[in-house]
Every structure is written in structure tokens, then in C-alpha cells.
């Protein structure tokens, strides 16, 4: 027997939810648990709009449990802490990303890779528990999954780092594409891609942006600091860059061919997939064999790593380039996001517009 979102838990909450596969969001009254001994409760200031939110509300992954209250790039100010909480106190700024729970006993949890725990709990629309995300007035989460927010990092521009940021930061470190003097390509200049360029430049890496849209070149080079720009369907350009890159971070979730990207890699080069098209890729073996090249995947990042990434961003003054929107603009924002019409992340001004 299910219980209504409104009455399932003791503490009333207000949010925006999608109720069916149209994906249209509208206000919802729901409820959250009380602040447990290990919990941190915070008023949401801002929440980033991730493409995953769009996939979820439209049930594109066939796993939506309506009503879906999305949002996993959440920042705010602590209002209450449980008796055992040590990490933060009332008044501190905090963030929560894509995870709010894990088993804490498997190999993955033990090695700070909670995102690969088979019992990982997602911040919203989790498969086994009912979870509601950051398009809401407040959040409560276990201390372990709370990110401490550095004083000098803006909340609005920093919110998207909690998903987009960690999703590109984690593979840069894991696959070793973070050494000064390396040459790394970034495929797709959207929410993830633009942050990847910023991180890589801060690490002293030479960056080539690979995009289907020639109009993005100017901004890539002038605003984001990319060194080079390739239009992926321009044969001559791609041919000229063959065998020049140590690695590529591929953020694109639409179907696209991998072979031209593998060709851009030097021997021992690595192509890392963080975007997940639904249709499998098809790759001939030879491009990988000739040059001992690698295609790997990566999923967000662990909590320890997310904190490290936020601290790195604060140190290097890296934030996402955002378009701040009132919450009642969310449906228009989703339509624009579906057409990639945003530079480069929508962020909802929750505290000021969700009433």
C-alpha cells in the first residue's frame, strides 16, 4: 500500500514535480522525514537542471515513479543537524549531488566509490526507496552525503558542479588525463563539456573542443579558454588532428560514431565515455588494437572525490556558466534544454521563487 507524498513523512515540504510522461512540472505539496541523528537539514538556495532530470521526468529510462521531484545539483544553508553530526553546523553552506545513500560495507563503498555500490540510493527517483530531489524548498540527507561548501565558491554557479562537475572531474583523475602538458579533447560543449574545459585548463592541460556546432567556437576559445576547436563532421579538420590527443572526455548522450574520436588519440590514448546513448556503439577492433587504445566509462564520482572537486573549484575560482531561472520557468527551460539551447546550465533560484 503506497502512501501519499504529502503524508508519508512528518515534515511538510513544497516542490515541483512531474506527474506523468509528459514531463510537465507543477507545484506539489509533499513531506520529508524528520532530522535523524546523522542527518543534515538545509533550506535549498539553488538547484541545477541536469539533462538527467529531463530523461527522468519523461520516463526515457523507463524507471520513473511518479510524482518525480528531480534535482541533484542542490546547494543551500543548514537549518538543523542531528545529534551525531560533526561535518557541518547550522548556518553553514552545503551541497548534495546525485547520491543520498549507500551500503557502507561493500568494496566500492570502502574505496570511496559509493556511486558503484549496488545499493546506492539516488537523490531522486531511486528504484528501491522513495526519494525527492532539489526542486524543493528544503532537503534532508545523511551527513556522509553532504558536501561542505567553501566560503568563496558562489552557490549559484557552483551548484552544477555537484553533478556535471564531478562527472567530468572523476575520470580526469582516474584515467590520468590531468597532467600539465597533456592534450585532451572534450566532445560536446554543454553543461558537462564546458566545465570539463575549465577544469582541464586549470590543470595545465591543452584542450581541444570537438563539437557539431561551429557557432560554439568563439566562446569555447575566448570565454572558456579552449586551445583548439574541431567541427566533428568536417573531415579535413578531424584528419588534421589524428593521433594528437592523450585522451578525450566524451560528454555527448546522443548517438554518435566513436571511430573518428578513437582516431584522434595517440597510441595508448584513452576515450572516456560519460554520456550514455541508449543505442550501443559499434566499434571495429582494429582502431583499438593498432595503438593499444582504450575506451572506458565513468559515472559521477564518490563523495570524497566530490568534496575534493568542490575544493579544487573554489581554489581555482571555477564555476559553471549558468542561466538563473525562476522555478515557474522550469518547463520552458526543459524544452530549451532538449534543444541544447542554454549556455551552459540552467540553475533554479529556488529560495527566491519557490513559495
Amino acid at each position: 500500500m503506497g502512501s501519499l507524498p504529502e503524508t508519508e513523512h512528518p515534515v511538510k515540504a513544497l516542490g515541483y514535480a512531474a506527474r506523468d510522461i509528459s514531463g510537465v512540472l507543477s507545484p506539489i505539496n509533499f513531506s520529508r522525514r524528520e532530522t535523524g541523528d546523522e542527518d543534515v537539514r538545509f533550506k535549498v538556495s539553488y538547484c541545477g537542471v541536469c539533462h538527467s532530470d529531463l530523461h527522468s521526468v519523461k520516463n526515457e529510462w523507463s524507471n520513473a515513479k511518479y510524482p518525480v521531484i528531480p534535482g541533484h545539483e542542490i546547494v543551500g544553508v543548514v537549518t538543523e543537524v542531528g545529534s551525531k553530526v560533526k561535518k557541518v553546523k547550522v548556518g553553514d553552506k552545503v551541497g548534495v549531488g546525485c547520491m543520498v545513500g549507500s551500503c557502507h560495507s561493500c568494496d566500492q563503498c570502502a574505496s570511496d566509490q559509493e556511486q558503484y555500490c549496488l545499493k546506492m540510493v539516488q537523490t531522486y527517483n531511486d528504484a528501491t526507496m522513495t526519494t525527492y530531489g532539489g526542486y524543493s524548498d528544503h532537503m534532508v540527507a545523511n551527513e556522509h552525503f553532504i558536501i561542505s561548501w567553501p566560503e568563496n565558491l558562489p552557490l549559484d554557479g557552483g551548484a552544477p558542479l555537484l553533478c556535471a562537475g564531478i562527472t567530468v572531474y572523476s575520470p580526469m583523475r582516474y584515467y590520468g588525463l590531468d597532467k600539465p602538458g597533456m592534450h585532451v579533447g572534450v566532445v560536446g560543449l554543454g553543461g558537462l563539456g564546458h566545465v570539463a574545459v575549465k577544469f582541464l585548463k586549470a590543470l595545465g592541460v591543452k584542450v581541444t573542443v570537438i563539437s557539431t556546432n561551429p557557432k560554439k567556437k568563439e566562446e569555447a576559445i575566448s570565454n572558456l579558454g579552449a586551445d583548439l576547436f574541431l567541427v566533428s563532421h568536417e573531415q579535413a579538420q578531424m584528419q588534421g588532428a589524428v593521433g594528437t590527443m592523450d585522451g578525450i572526455i566524451d560528454t555527448v548522450s546522443a548517438d554518435h560514431p566513436l571511430v573518428p574520436l578513437i582516431g584522434l588519440l595517440r597510441p595508448n590514448g584513452k576515450l572516456v565515455l560519460v554520456g550514455a546513448p541508449t543505442k550501443p556503439h559499434e566499434i571495429p577492433a582494429f582502431p583499438l588494437l593498432f595503438g593499444r587504445k582504450l575506451v572506458g566509462g565513468s559515472l559521477i564520482g564518490g563523495i570524497k572525490e566530490t568534496q575534493e572537486m568542490i575544493d579544487f573549484a573554489a581554489k581555482h575560482n571555477i564555476t559553471a556558466a549558468i542561466e538563473l531561472i525562476p522555478i515557474d520557468y522550469i518547463n520552458t527551460a526543459m524544452e530549451r534544454l532538449a534543444k541544447a539551447d542554454v549556455r551552459y546550465r540552467f540553475v533554479i533560484d529556488v529560495a527566491n521563487t519557490l513559495k
Binding site: 582516474y174 597510441p267 559499434e282 566499434i283 577492433a285 583499438l288 572506458g296 566509462g297
Partner: protein
């Protein structure tokens, strides 16, 4: 018409395919005279690699007919050029896939000649003098000494021949992925053929627990009893595959037929790597979800450098590792190729080139 240069004065008997029908017939051709950097090798044995079939039949569209295949060659040195150090007449040697490389790039200087972008292969390649290279299905070979390996004294020349390609092809990625420095890892081997059976031996010698992943249930008994595999999974059995998800640290995929990598990737633990060494002629299906939701990687690997090949042979000498072979005389090459195409060999054919029943 075979391509030769003026210094190709030595008449050699061998076996070649003349077109994509893939029939091998006796063929007389010319090789270069032994140069200052060369050694001349009387060939005793040559392994039959699946790549030979691909070239014979022009599967990859790049065969220069007539093609004399063979890149798993063992023999005895009969002549040594004046610049040659480290080899003398009478030495037991082997030649694998590599005939020439640029010798200058970072890969050549690091003895990773196999990744030099000017690499030329032992057959169907173009040597420095512009001539087409002809391989080990022949009575003798002239090779630049920098691409020749010593065969350890205690290893038999016939069962060692396939190590020159199959052996190094599986050894190199194991070293690249540090399997020689770790102990008791769970290693998966996909495909139990020429490459797969040697891979099992290496993985066991390195101290790991080996799981064979195969489509053939009939191979299980030998895999366990003869080769020492610890586990055996039928890849077409969904229940077995499901119950083995996230169990393996490393998988070596030796299969040359097209197949989907998705189910195999799910066998890998988080952070696991699957190395592809087989080269199907059609693209492989690679879904991104198993990679992303497990931080897994697929990596390619192609033979190995000369230094590493020598290390591999020395390792085999120290650990008494050779291949399980079926020897054929040279008049039976076509039958062997037909059986190999059906996977009907345990586990590598080796041509007895110099044997008394040969047609030479």
C-alpha cells in the same frame, strides 16, 4: 608478379595464396641477399595463425597477392651480417610478426616497435628496400637481426613456434595490466583457441585464478584438466553469465568472430579492464552502460615489442611453457586452414617445414 629489388637474388621455395579463394600452392620466389644487419634463417617450423586466413582470403581488403603467410617462425641461423651482434651461425631463433619499423620514434626507442606508425609486418608488408615481405611458409627467411628472437635451449622448436605471435599477443597485455606483479586475481579468458590456451598457461604461471568464457561446452574438460583453468562459463548461457557478474578483475578477449562485448563486460568488477586482442572483420557491439555503470574499460593490444617478446620466451623457458600443437606437413596446409576456420584444432597447427615428408 612478385615485387623484388635487384638484391633479391636468393631463390626460395615456399607456399602462397594467389587470390582470395585462399588455396595455398607451392611457390618459388626470391629473397634478398643477407645484408649487413641481417641474419639468414633455415626455417624448421611455422605456426598457422588465424591472421594467415584473414590475409589469404583478403578479409581486410589489403592483401598483396601472391601472399606467403606465416609469422610464427622458428629455425636455425645459417648466415650472419657483419653488423650483427648477439647472433651466430647455429643459433636457434624465432621471428614473429615484425619485420621493420622506423627505429627512431618514441615507441621504437622504447622497444614498442609494434606501435610504431611505420611498422611493417613479416608478410604482406613493405620492407625498407621497397620489396613485399614474405613470411614463414617457406624454407628460409632473411630477417633484420633487430627483429629476431633467441629461443631458450630447453624449449622444443615446434611447440615454441606459436609463441612468436599467439604467445606475445596475450603476454603483452597481461604485463601492461600488471598481472605479473599481482597475485591471486580473477582473470577471464574469452575464447579457447591458439591465443586462449596460451593465455591460460601464462595466467596460471602468474598465480591467478582463471575463468574460461567460451561458447563450446565440449571444451570444458580439457580446459580444466589439461590447461589448468579453474572455472568455465558458457557465454551463451544467461544464467551462468548473470551469476558471475562483477567477479573478474581482468578479461582477455581472444575471439576473432564478431560478438557483443556487453554481456562480457558485466563479468568485470568495478574498475576492471577487458583487453581485445582478437580482430573480427565486423565491428563489435559496445554498449556504454556497462562501461559507465562500472567504470570499466575496453583496451586494444597488438602483438608486442621485441624486448618484451624475448622476455616472454625467456619466461616460457624458465617455466616450461609451450603451446599444445598439431603438426602438419607442408602438403597438408590447405586442410589445416580449412579445419582452423572451423576451430577444429587443439590448439595451434604448426607446419613442419623442414620435415622429411615435406614437398621441398
Amino acid at each position: 608478379m612478385a615485387q623484388t629489388t635487384p638484391n633479391h637474388k636468393l631463390t626460395v621455395s615456399g607456399w602462397a595464396a594467389h587470390d582470395a579463394t585462399g588455396v595455398i600452392t607451392p611457390y618459388v620466389f626470391k629473397r634478398r641477399v643477407n645484408g649487413d644487419n641481417d641474419v639468414t634463417i633455415k626455417i624448421l617450423y611455422c605456426g598457422i595463425c588465424h591472421t594467415d586466413i584473414h590475409h589469404i582470403k583478403n578479409d581486410w581488403g589489403n592483401t598483396m597477392y601472391p601472399v606467403v603467410p606465416g609469422h610464427e617462425i622458428t629455425g636455425v641461423i645459417t648466415e650472419v651480417g657483419i653488423n650483427v651482434k648477439g647472433f651466430k651461425i647455429g643459433d636457434k631463433v624465432g621471428v614473429g610478426c615484425l619485420a621493420a619499423s622506423c627505429l627512431k620514434c618514441e615507441f621504437c626507442r622504447n622497444s614498442e616497435e609494434n606501435y610504431c606508425d611505420k611498422i611493417q609486418f613479416t608478410y604482406n608488408g613493405i620492407f625498407w628496400d621497397g620489396s613485399i615481405t614474405y613470411g614463414g611458409y617457406s624454407e628460409m627467411l632473411v630477417a633484420d637481426h633487430r627483429y629476431v628472437l633467441h629461443i631458450p635451449e630447453n624449449l622444443p622448436m615446434d611447440a615454441t613456434a606459436p609463441l612468436l605471435c599467439a604467445g606475445i599477443t596475450v603476454y603483452s597485455p597481461m604485463i601492461d595490466n600488471n598481472l605479473h606483479r599481482m597475485i591471486e586475481r580473477r582473470v577471464g579468458i574469452v575464447g579457447l583457441g591458439g591465443l586462449g590456451h596460451v593465455a591460460i598457461k601464462f595466467a596460471k604461471a602468474f598465480g591467478h585464478r582463471v575463468t574460461v568464457i567460451s561458447t563450446s561446452p565440449s571444451k570444458e574438460v580439457e580446459a580444466r584438466k589439461l590447461l589448468g583453468a579453474d572455472d568455465f562459463i558458457i557465454s551463451t548461457d544467461p544464467k551462468q553469465m548473470q551469476s558471475n557478474t562483477r567477479t573478474l578483475d581482468f578479461i582477455l578477449d581472444t575471439v576473432a568472430a564478431p560478438h557483443s562485448l556487453g554481456p562480457i563486460l558485466e563479468l568485470l568488477k568495478v574498475n576492471g579492464t577487458l583487453v581485445l586482442v582478437g580482430a573480427p572483420d565486423k565491428p563489435l557491439e559496445l554498449p556504454s552502460f556497462p562501461l559507465i555503470f562500472g567504470k570499466r574499460a575496453v583496451k586494444g593490444s597488438m602483438t608486442g615489442g621485441i624486448k618484451e617478446t624475448q622476455e616472454m620466451l625467456n619466461f616460457c623457458g624458465e617455466n616450461n611453457i609451450t603451446c599444445d600443437i598439431e603438426t602438419v606437413t607442408s602438403d597438408k596446409i590447405n586442410e589445416a586452414l580449412t579445419r582452423l576456420a572451423k576451430n577444429d584444432v587443439k590448439y595451434r597447427f604448426v607446419i613442419d617445414i623442414a620435415g622429411k615428408n615435406s614437398s621441398l
